[in-house]
Amino acid sequence: MDTGLPCIHCGLCLHSCPTYRELGSEADSPRGRIYLMEAIEAGEQEFDAPARAHLEGCLSCKACETACPSGVDFSARMDKFRPRLAAAHRLAPGRRAALLVTRFPLLLKIAARTARLLDLLGLERLRRLLPGLGLMPGRKRKLRASGLTIGSPGKRSSGLRVALLQGCVGNAVAPGITRDAREVLERNGIAVVDVAGQGCCGALYAHSGDRERAAELASHNVRLLDAAGLDHVVTTVAGCGAFMREYDSLLAHDNLLSGAAQRLAGATRDVSELLVEAGFDPPMHPLTDIGPVAYHDACHLLHGCSVAEQPRIITRAAVGREPLELAESELCCGSAGSYNLEQPSMAARLGRRKAAALGASEASVLAVGNVGCILQIEMHARRAGIDAELLHPVELLARAYREGPSPAAASSRLSKIRRR
């Protein structure tokens, strides 16, 4: 595996690293982790429990790669090292649970419904404190398709044929996002093809050091999606999208699949990216009455795919104004794949930090292009008593398409203004 250019120890990555920001200890920074890995590889440093802890603390958020002036591919170095971490001891229970869920998404659906039931009984505050269930989405996020279809089918066909990646976890927990993405794409003349039998993209396995299993899962998806004759594969989950863009290097040595993997990696788009690329209809009636709206960068969109502008364009079109920026927007919320299950204490610290930034922004809606971040930030916001609604930008756009202000809504808005 190509691990890129050497680290020159300049330290410019430090402030970008969430764990360094929390702990202030350089062994918990990218520079420190690289230094440790090099010393372990050189046989100078024992691969002991403290060394493992510093390395396992990494969120793989890739913020250091954006900060690095030398072009060090930190993720590649970390991924190369992960099998050693995995071999050193059994996987943390949290990660095992997360991997189990990728095989049996039904478990997640059950958890999500249990959570909803508890919320209906008025027990959300309590439920938010529970492990696992605390992360499940709240009552505001509908589990079933609403049955509404988006207003007037807009413009002519774009001629594009795409498939939506049925992200295993994302789709089970927040099927509304996938549904809205589909409707928004179709509304803009992009044909969405059903490709049955898709599996997990493999990212969670790769990040657990099991590159073989990740490659198996990737191969399955590559075969399936490449055969479907698509222009693009569209993701609504940042982590999956970032990992699929690495399919080419993951499967580079597979003589049969390397070509298809390269095609698929090149054809992967985030939903906001494709909408901006192909052109989309701005909604006739943007959601101007939903209070202040902020946008938060999901790490794997910002640092993993360099997608920062497009979700803001979508959000701006949906709400009719420039979204606010959160303080420390570039800092990971602590969700990070299955990190919040494996390293609950650091994940919670980062979650609280993000919730505090959300509270300080006074936004009533936070748009985030990744379901993992949505769940994590929502949980910590609720625990902190912050009632902001968390939505994927594409959900906001779908809502704007659907909800042109009806006369009734317009009059109720008027009455609100009068009351003031």
Partner: protein, 478 residues
């Protein structure tokens, strides 16, 4: 090389006060503290303390002072002269957990922040009020205010705005015995300017725990220009011509062909492939005046043989141009596995001579040397490229670096513009200052730091310089 272990009772007391996260022990946690951005020499501390408040800092220092144990402060470890190298210093004290913003006073254009606050975050804090913190070292996205004050850091915009000391209104300093001083230097404070004395003292007079900083109004308009020259000599002459025309650019930076090659590979700005040198010229002020000044700059550059001059009007293009410049050091990794950044100063008029001398030295030692310069104030940064797995080449790099700095002295300049003396340049101090001046400096240090417990062996030459010079190690890349 490691320092000896510490008394267990003392460590226990410190841990009780600072908590588990405030005290680091063990090989895995300490290893990275062996060096900062200057990697030629290494030494590992036995203990790292990360106090979170001034009180914790003061108590920690007091305990160490009582026990007679030497300590060295560290900010973000982005320094490049080994100023926080723990050579014969058992304890390192980091400011990374001192993160509070103590006061934001927009009306009086000042902020008070703790030592661990990052330079760029100060500007982020006040930019919506049309203000910014002017000193902008290339590492500003990571380096901390405490470190900036200790090094009296500069940056590309110092030509017009000055360095850290010109923006410093006050300091909180923990003396090497633990006592806390509040040092104000706002107008009318009276007394000696002790905060000024501490600025640039590289952690040898005490540990800075907070600083009050002056903010500058963000200019109404900015014009950033790029001028391309056939070589460094022509570009150096253009620098003098611009200043002679009576202009004070906000920044006036030069990059030579090797640097351009590296940053082009890294950021793809679109520098012409055959450029021998480029100048980045930034003018700021009232919008109405800028067009005329741009014409003057263009004329000065054309007279010195510029092959192309363009103005980056698009903010995105301007940002990319500055990114190319500010991250140029890091981009050098694309040309060479290691490099050593030198830092020297010559009078602006002597830029053509020093460029020629650097060329000669490179040829003599068979080294590739790239040049970045804050050309406006004669501050040169030759980058000596080498491979650290080649000990013989490392030796040539050290010799060539010394020769370049001696050439700076000969031309009437100095051995450091902004990176400090640290541990790297102590041996050059006798060549830079007369014995009486050096003795006065030693006396000053004696007043603040009588037992030489706070960052010993730095700045002034010392006979105890016992560190491990880096030895070759396989690289992780590949």
């Amino acid at each position: 090389m490691s320092n000896p272990p510490l008394d267990a009772g003392l460590v226990t007391r410190l841990r009780r006060m600072l908590g588990e996260e405030g005290l680091l022990t063990g090989e895995a946690a300490l290893r990275v503290y062996e060096c900062d951005g200057y990697t030629l020499e290494k030494a590992r501390p036995s203990l790292v303390l990360l106090p979170a408040t001034t009180q914790e800092m003061s108590r920690s220092v007091e305990l160490l002072h009582k026990a007679g144990i030497a300590f060295v402060p560290r900010g973000a470890g982005t320094g490049v002269s080994g100023g926080c190298l723990p050579a014969d210093i058992p304890v390192m004290i980091g400011t990374s957990r001192m993160q509070r913003i103590r006061r934001v006073d927009i009306d009086n254009r000042r902020v008070e922040v703790e030592a661990g606050v990052v330079n760029l975050d100060v500007t982020r804090l006040v930019e919506s009020d049309g203000l910014h913190y002017a000193p902008d070292p290339s590492s500003q996205a990571a380096c901390t205010i405490g470190g900036n004050v200790a090094e009296n850091s500069g940056g590309p915009h110092t030509l017009k705005y000055g360095v850290t000391v010109n923006h410093l209104l006050g300091l909180e300093l923990v003396l090497p015995d633990g006592e806390v001083l509040q040092l104000s230097r706002e107008a009318g404070s009276g007394g000696f300017d002790l905060a000024g004395v501490v600025t640039g003292s590289e952690g040898t007079l005490g540990i800075i725990t907070s600083a009050t900083l002056a903010l500058v109004k963000t200019p109404q308009a900015v014009a950033t220009m790029l001028a391309v020259f056939p070589g460094v000599l022509e570009a150096s002459r253009a620098v003098s011509a611009i200043i002679a025309a009576g202009l004070v650019p906000a920044a006036l930076e030069m990059m030579d062909a090797l640097v351009i090659e590296a940053v082009e590979a890294a950021y793809g700005f679109g520098f012409p492939a055959d450029a021998g040198a480029v100048l980045i010229i930034e003018l700021d002020g009232l919008a109405a005046a800028l067009d005329e000044q741009c014409v003057q700059v263009t004329e000065a550059c054309n007279e010195q043989g510029a092959s192309e001059i363009r103005r980056a009007d698009d903010p995105r293009e301007r940002a990319l141009l500055w990114k190319s410049r500010k991250r140029a050091f890091g981009a050098m990794g694309r040309l060479s596995p290691s490099y050593c950044t030198q830092d020297g100063v010559v009078p602006r008029s002597a830029l053509p001579q020093i460029v020629e001398r650097i060329g000669e030295i490179g040829r003599r030692y068979k080294l590739r040397i790239a040049n970045i310069m804050h050309a406006g104030d004669g501050n040169i940064h030759p980058l000596l490229l080498y491979d650290e797995n080649d000990p013989e080449e490392v030796a040539r790099v050290l010799d060539a670096g010394r020769d370049i700095l001696l050439a700076c002295l000969e031309l009437g300049g100095s051995v450091t513009g902004e990176h400090g003396i640290g541990i790297e340049k102590t041996e050059l101090m006798p060549a830079s200052f007369g014995p009486a001046t050096l003795a006065a400096m030693a006396d000053l240090r004696e007043v603040f730091n009588p037992r030489a417990l706070c960052n010993p062996h730095k700045i002034l030459p010392s006979d105890r310089h016992c560190v491990e010079v880096t030895r070759p190690r396989p690289r992780g890349g590949g």
